[in-house]
């Protein structure tokens, strides 16, 4: 404790014609158990009330406070200042539309992406509100939940070299999301339906395996494993008809 922290923060308000992108410097005395979330609130309360940034839950659940912290996408509320150097540089997440300063609009991007991959359970079963819910094997439910832990913060997209270079690349979050529906027995989509959604260079075959998604995910979702499984599944689906019988297993 007793450190004085220097914050270099990206400032730009796209809706203000007089605003130009620049970095502002703020200094704060470090307090015990300080997180970037606390620091940013103090900066806004004590030093500059115009500073824009998003937060909601302050507990790593809502994903709103994702930003680029000393070069790496991460959650401000999850980042303890005691684990950071004296100087901290904060930038908004790339890829997403800038609202202002550190605040970005991830909502529009995610909604569009979910529509593209049709991120909902496809079923022709009529919902009966009086019937008991269908049982699911506990192990399978846990597997689905493991992937459903995604908080849609956008860190994986902001860290992905491929997504930064190619606007049409779906990104790890979308591929992980689809992997979740593939596991779900309530979704009646066939392998071909899934292939039609991600069996392209904009989908799983566009992934170059840089694995920044895996390494920055604040929820430690096993993205490398999921993307690998999805690539195998989709690649095999494409050649199933030409494979000899003994190779036609789902590995």
């Amino acid at each position: 404790m007793g450190r004085t922290l220097t914050f270099n923060i990206f400032r730009y308000n796209p809706s203000d014609p007089a605003s130009a992108p620049h970095m502002d410097k703020f200094t704060l005395d470090e307090t015990e158990r300080m997180t970037l979330f606390i620091a940013l609130n103090r900066i806004r309360e004590e030093l500059d009330p115009t500073l824009m940034f998003d937060f909601c839950c302050r507990a790593g659940i809502c994903g709103a406070c994702a930003m680029v912290i000393n070069g790496r996408p991460g959650l401000a509320c999850h980042t303890k200042t005691k684990e950071m150097p004296d100087e901290i540089t904060l930038m908004p997440l790339p890829v997403f539309k800038l609202v202002g300063d550190l605040s970005v609009d991830t909502g529009v991007w995610f909604r569009t992406m979910y529509q593209k991959i049709e991120s909902w359970v496809h079923t022709d079963k009529k919902f009966d509100p009086t019937a008991q819910e269908e049982r699911m094997d506990n192990g399978l439910a846990e597997q689905i939940y493991e992937l459903d832990r995604c908080i849609e913060c956008g860190c994986c997209v902001g860290a992905c070299g491929t997504a930064l270079m190619r606007e049409d690349f779906l990104g790890a979050v979308a591929l992980n999301r689809l992997a979740r529906f593939i596991l779900d027995p309530r979704d009646q989509r066939t392998e071909k339906d899934y292939f039609d959604v991600v069996g392209t260079d904009e989908g799983i075959f566009g992934c170059m395996g840089l694995l920044a998604c895996e390494d920055v995910c604040p929820k430690q979702i096993p993205l490398q494993e999921q993307l690998g499984k999805l690539r195998r599944k989709m690649a095999l689906a494409a050649v199933k008809n030409i494979l000899p019988k003994f190779l036609k297993k789902d590995f």
Binding site: M208, K229, R231, A235
Partner: protein, 219 residues
């Protein structure tokens, strides 16, 4: 703002071309990895003596593996380049985005990809020259190889080509396994360590072999 714009949806089935090309990129890559590792082991037979190297070279000539396999490897090499180049940024804007991201992130695997992309360009040119020089001057013998390396120019040429190939091949091996999901999270770190060690060992063997050729007495 970037939004995924071209993913398809129900009712618009996509072709299988992307999948076929991804298979081909991986399979040509895997074939070239196996070839390059075998190649280095065979070439390093000079460390056991010119007779061993000549014997092995004779075997590959007599069975026509050099005459037929050589051009096939050349073809595989060119096909692999064309397929993998689909992913490499050739325009400056994309290159700058990629570099800026790697610098900002300080993320080893993103840097490894850049090493792979840069060495790919070097290997395309120098590997093609090497293949041409060797395949147009068959049969391969220890004396001919040594004479070429002792010109000095070729020694320096291989001092650049050797680490480029070993880095590219080693990283490629690691990337195939992680991309196709053959390792899990803990397995990835073990694999990376082993891959780094393997690359270092291969560069070491290659350097020793180069020095042996350089100092091999010519008749």
């Amino acid at each position: 703002m970037s939004v995924p714009t071209t993913a398809t949806h129900e009712g618009l089935p996509v072709g299988k071309l992307s999948a076929y090309l991804d298979w081909a990129q991986m399979l040509t890559g895997a074939a070239l990895i196996l070839f390059m590792w075998s190649h280095l082991i065979l070439v390093s037979s000079i460390l056991l003596g010119p007779g061993v190297m000549n014997g092995l070279a004779w075997f590959f000539e007599a069975t026509y593996m050099a005459q037929v396999g050589g051009p096939l490897i050349f073809l595989c090499f060119l096909v692999h380049f064309v397929l993998a180049a689909r992913k490499i940024p050739f325009n400056t804007a994309q290159q700058r985005v990629m570099l800026a991201n790697a610098k900002r992130l300080r993320h080893p695997d993103t840097w490894l990809w850049i090493v792979q992309a840069v060495t790919a360009m070097g290997i395309l040119i120098m590997g093609a020259i090497h293949l041409w020089v060797v395949l147009t001057n068959l049969p391969i013998t220890a004396e001919k190889s040594a004479a070429r390396i002792q010109t000095g120019f070729w020694f320096v040429f291989y001092l650049f080509l050797l680490p480029m190939v070993e880095l590219h091949v080693g990283i490629g091996f690691y990337r195939i396994l992680v991309k196709w999901g053959f390792v899990d999270r803990p397995g990835r770190w073990t694999l990376k360590k082993k891959e780094n060690l393997l690359t270092a060992v291969f560069i070491g063997i290659g350097l020793l072999s180069l020095l042996r050729y350089y100092f091999l007495p010519l008749k």
